[in-house]
């Protein structure tokens, strides 16, 4: 009769323990060797007390990659940040910038209270006011606009805003208020890349399937130091090139760290990447290495059309344009074609040019004709978490100034934000009475810095300026009202960055420490403003919004608080979803009509058409917002999901031929368009390009002492042969002059840059942003800490943006960061 009670087992256990007081050999030789270590890395201890440090998971915000992190807190102080080991995207890793997020929280120059300007704009005199005072003033001004029937005169201009931070503002507050005068920043980054993708394969963000690829071509991306998905793509690229010996070939005007770790660095003349890509495509067609089935089934061109078009782009021709040897172009093309599959990475180095859109289209075409699109190991559509969240409807009006000046670009699908100030100066489409900017640097991040400053200082052009920022920046210094925001480590949000696992990962950001002073998360302030303005929203705080979103998306909020991340364990990566055959019930439905011309099935009710007949008569291509109703594409005798369009009424095919480009007078097939200024350069003139380094982000990390300690000077990189011709030695002061203006900076003579290029990183050259960024303590207040006295460097760099024109590319409106022609002489 067995009495298998817990109590009796305990007695047996005690007996075992009494016998076993040492080696496990007592019961026979153990099989397993080693010490059992938990898979998670997430553990840390105080080096002083040995106590275990508490963990709070959250999400990074040091760049757009927004990796999942775990934050270690000791006695209410944030002491360490590491990658979240449970995250499938960044797999427990973050970069140097992510770890230095602590410096954002404890920045001695942080703004702690609302500030109101005293004296003239830009004088740097401020008065501390209460939140009530600040919001009373702001509300009064905002209410007046609404009462006068001009809510569109409230402009909201953001730099970095994503996830729920974005949805609270753009999908709730601004519609409730009634304004659609919204600015973003994409045009200074990679607007051309996205527009090119919208003209070609649909929704933007391409994800290179590194774990499964056999060869990587890289045009102008600094994967190992930057890139929109930095750690995700970097760690997988390293695994591919080190672990599997995958070849990585980088075309870049200078030796970035990515170029340094590549199998081969191929220097290239700025703005000529398109020529090389087209020549490679030509070789592929000539050699018969193309994927005939993909071209015929999924693109809107034929093999004959492609051959006829590409024949002029010979490797020899491309060599003349780019400097890349013809033999190299030819051999790489063949090697890449035989990789089966390969993938091409491209970023600002390739697209921040006059011909950026064509370059990106040429690159995507090269992958397409080889059948590398959306296949395992190829170039895939990005997959991100799709949250469900509260929305507020509202009638919105807008000032047409988000696309710069008339004629700036043909298809500015991501707007032309660096020319918003020019549009405001011009005034033809009105000017905002209230200009509010959030996590954005209108002065510093754009080109033509002086003009930006002049416009901001002019109260006739911008009567009232509000800055939402935790820090006192060059732009904040010119505001009338500063509302201190929290840092990302003190706020509530959910986020949705794309996943290199091709499986969406949902994650949140939650406060890890109590914010100092009177700083408030702006999304909470917005709830306050809404109440004051009598606007109804379905949530009363950022935290409430996140909770409600979790509920709507059927994700356990408590799980998110404890783990930070969640993904569907049953989800599997999906490749080739464009080929999914739709069932009748998908395309035979209410509102869905068939467009004979394009073969597209679309739901006209989602477009701007007022009636079905109107929609049918105008057709899919020409009906405004028709793409929003896209259902599927007829392919042969089937209807498939196709390449879903976004922002442009592209068909469901991979459009190598773009009717939209033809309509606006551009070549409908990807072509090489030379940068006009580069055709008229004088002897000795050079091309100014900018670049990023691994330890800094564009403009908002230079206040992080641990990062700026490593990188605090941005001398101009110049090739020794060129330097010698100009009599310039390493360290010499040089004058770099463009049509906009001139800067005096130091030369760094290096073998790692193209002889025609002068490369200056755009991170540095601050004159505000606090002690560590510029040496200048913030006028809004400075709280000295021991490390202020340990700052051992005096350099702060020279900003190249002073002399870079805010010039748009003619198709997308992209800021042509890498095109500027300059004269370079010893100062």
């Amino acid at each position: 009769m067995t009495k298998l009670t817990r109590r009796n087992f305990i007695k047996l256990s005690a007996a075992s323990a009494a016998v076993v007081t040492g080696a496990k050999d007592i019961f026979g030789k153990p099989v397993l060797s080693g010490v059992l270590k938990l898979k998670e890395a997430g553990k840390d201890y105080s080096p002083v007390t040995g106590k275990e440090r508490k963990i709070i998971p959250s999400a990074c915000w040091q760049c757009v990659a927004r990796d999942a992190i775990i934050c270690y807190v000791e006695d209410g102080k944030l002491v360490k940040i590491e990658g979240n080991p449970e995250a499938i995207r960044n797999k427990g890793k973050i970069c140097a910038k992510g770890q230095a997020g602590i410096n954002q929280v404890y920045d001695p120059d942080r703004i702690l209270y609302p500030m109101k300007r005293v004296g003239k704009r830009g004088e740097g005199n401020w008065k501390r006011i209460s939140w009530d005072e600040a919001l009373d003033e702001l509300t009064a001004r905002m209410k007046k606009l609404r009462d006068d029937g001009h809510p569109e005169k409230f402009m909201f201009h953001y730099g970095r805003m994503k996830g729920s931070d974005d949805k609270i503002i753009k999908s709730n507050f601004l519609p409730a208020f009634g304004t659609k005068t919204i600015g973003n920043h994409t045009s200074i980054c990679e607007g051309a890349k996205w527009t090119a993708q919208e003209l070609t394969w649909g929704k933007h963000y391409d994800v290179n399937d590194m774990p499964n690829t056999n060869m990587i071509l890289n045009f102008g991306s600094n994967i190992l130091e930057a890139h929109t998905s930095h750690i995700q793509i970097a760690q997988r690229t390293i695994e591919a090139i080190n672990g599997r010996g995958v070849k990585l070939v980088t075309f870049d005007v200078r030796l970035s760290n990515t170029a340094a770790k590549s199998t081969e660095w191929i220097p290239i003349k700025p703005g000529t990447d398109g020529a090389v890509a087209l020549a490679m495509a030509n070789v592929v067609m000539e050699e018969g290495l193309y994927d005939e089935d993909f071209i015929n089934t999924w693109t809107n061109v034929t093999v004959v059309q492609l051959k006829d078009h590409l024949i002029r782009y010979t490797p020899e021709w491309a060599e003349g344009i780019s400097g890349v040897p013809a033999s190299k172009i030819r051999s790489l093309a063949i090697e890449y074609a035989n990789a089966k599959p390969g993938t091409i990475v491209s970023y600002r180095g390739a697209v921040a040019h006059y011909n950026g859109v064509d370059t990106e289209r040429a690159i995507k075409t090269l992958d397409a004709i080889l059948g590398y699109i959306d296949v395992k190991g190829g170039t895939c559509h990005a997959v991100g978490a799709k949250w469900k969240y509260p929305k507020t409807k509202g009638k919105q009006k807008k000032l047409k100034i988000d696309n710069g000046l008339k004629g700036d670009a043909a298809y500015p699908t991501h707007h032309i934000n660096h020319r918003v100030f020019k549009a405001i100066k011009d005034g033809k489409n009105g000017r905002p009475d209230i200009y509010m900017f959030y996590c954005y640097e209108p002065v510093y991040a754009n080109g033509e810095v002086q003009e930006n400053i002049d416009i901001m200082k002019d109260e006739k052009l911008l009567p009232y300026i509000v800055s939402i920022n935790p820090f006192y920046t060059e732009s904040s210094a010119l505001a009338d009202l500063i509302l201190p925001d929290v840092t990302y480590l003190e706020r509530w949000s959910w986020d949705d960055m794309v996943s290199y696992e091709h499986i969406p990962e949902f994650y949140i950001r939650q406060p890890v420490v109590k914010p100092p002073g009177e700083v408030r998360q702006f999304q909470d302030v917005v709830c306050d403003l809404a109440k004051r303005l009598g606007l109804k929203m379905d949530f009363d705080s950022a935290e409430d919004f996140v909770r409600k979103s979790c509920k709507k998306t059927k994700i356990d909020f408590k799980h998110m608080q404890e783990h930070g991340v969640w993904h569907d364990p049953k989800a599997k990566p999906k490749y080739g979803s464009y080929a999914k055959v739709l069932s009748q019930k998908d395309y035979i439905a209410d509102g869905v009509i068939f467009d004979e011309k394009t073969g597209v099935y679309w739901n006209w009710t989602k477009s701007k058409a007022k009636a079905k007949e109107e929609a049918a008569a105008t057709g899919y291509t020409d009906t405004k917002n028709a793409y929003k109703g896209y259902v599927g594409q007829r392919i042969g005798d089937k209807v498939c999901a196709g390449f879903k369009p976004d922002k442009i009424n592209k068909s469901g095919k991979f459009e190598i031929y773009s009717g939209f480009l033809k309509k606006k007078g551009f070549n409908p097939l990807p072509s090489y368009v030379p940068v006009p200024e580069h055709q008229k350069m004088k002897e000795g003139e050079m091309i100014l390009t900018t670049y990023k380094v691994g330890v800094q982000i564009h403009s908002r990390s230079q206040n992080c002492k641990w990062l700026t300690e490593i990188y605090h000077d941005n001398p101009a990189l110049i090739n020794p042969v060129t330097a010698k011709k100009k009599g310039i030695k390493d360290g010499d002061k040089i004058k770099v002059k463009s049509i906009v203006g001139e800067i005096i900076t130091n030369a760094r003579v290096t073998e790692g840059v193209h002889p025609e290029v002068i490369a200056i990183s755009h991170h540095l050259g601050h004159w505000e942003y606090g002690e560590f960024a510029s040496g200048k303590k913030a006028s809004s207040g400075h709280r000295c800490e021991p490390d202020c006295h340990n700052k051992w460097w005096t350099e702060k760099g020279v900003h190249p943006n002073w002399i870079i024109p805010n010039a748009p590319d003619p198709v997308a409106g992209q800021l042509r960061f890498m095109d500027t022609v300059v004269s370079v002489d010893k100062a």
Binding site: G22, A41, D44, V79, K80, E82, Q99
Partner: protein
């Protein structure tokens, strides 16, 4: 001394040592190869210390092929110990070699080498600098009088004087983490997994296997300090900018 740390300069890597077996290494460093643990009657202490294998020798291997010079390690170390500006426990040297267009850039992560025969320990007048049985060279801050002799004695520039505490300071292989079974901060942080850490005396450990199978270099071996930070693929750093 701290101010020069991040400037580019000649790395202090010397000769290559190919194909040395782990046993040879251990012989050279004077550590006896751990024999089999006798299956005697277990003692109370043995059970209590079951987690620590006797005869552990901690070491780190850094694969320079994988290192991309991202400085995640440098910042993670700064953060872990709140190291003041101007001094480093772990840092990365950068070197450019070659002529355009065949230019190369190489990275050398640096830290205390936890030598078997540490010069710093020899000169310490108070015994504040000590070496644990498992090889970690550490500073007992309470005993340090700030004479700075160890800082001068270290041939690897690994030590510094703490600006506020005025005592000697350096990398200690994150012993506060290691003693609890967690890898050092820099090892955990490296996105390329270029740093491998573990027990050199355990033939099954990753560091052990790497060190016995791959060609490794240490810094200034001619000084006889017997460093226990091993570099893999440092040849490219030594030769003239040759690429992979």
């Amino acid at each position: 001394m701290g101010k020069t740390k991040v400037k580019e300069g000649m790395p202090d890597v010397a000769q290559e040592r190919k194909g040395l077996s782990r046993r040879d290494l251990l012989k050279m460093s004077g550590v006896a190869v751990a024999g089999a643990v006798a299956a005697t009657l277990p003692t109370k202490d043995a059970f209590a210390n079951a987690k620590h294998l006797t005869g552990r020798r901690l070491a780190m291997a850094i694969d320079l092929d994988k290192c991309t010079g991202c400085h995640a390690c440098s910042v993670s170390c700064k953060s872990e110990f709140d190291v003041p500006l101007g001094v480093w426990r772990s840092w990365v040297k950068v070197e450019e070699k070659g002529t355009y267009p065949n230019t190369g850039r190489f990275f050398l992560p640096r830290l205390c080498n936890h030598c078997d025969d540490p010069p710093c320990k020899k000169v310490c007048p108070t015994g504040a600098t000590g070496r644990r049985d498992d090889g970690i060279v550490k500073v007992d801050e309470k005993k340090c009088v700030g004479c700075k002799l160890c800082i001068v004695a270290c041939p690897y520039d690994a030590r510094f004087s703490h600006p506020t505490k005025k005592v000697a300071n350096k990398c200690d292989f994150c012993r506060h983490r290691v003693d609890k079974g967690v890898v050092p901060s820099c090892v955990n942080a490296c996105p390329a997994n270029a740093r491998i850490f573990g027990d050199l005396n355990d033939p099954d450990s990753d560091v052990s296997k790497l060190v016995s199978r791959k060609a490794i270099q240490t810094l200034r071996p001619e000084l006889g300090t017997e460093p226990h930070v091993f570099y893999i693929s440092a040849e490219k750093l030594l030769e003239g900018g040759e690429r992979r």
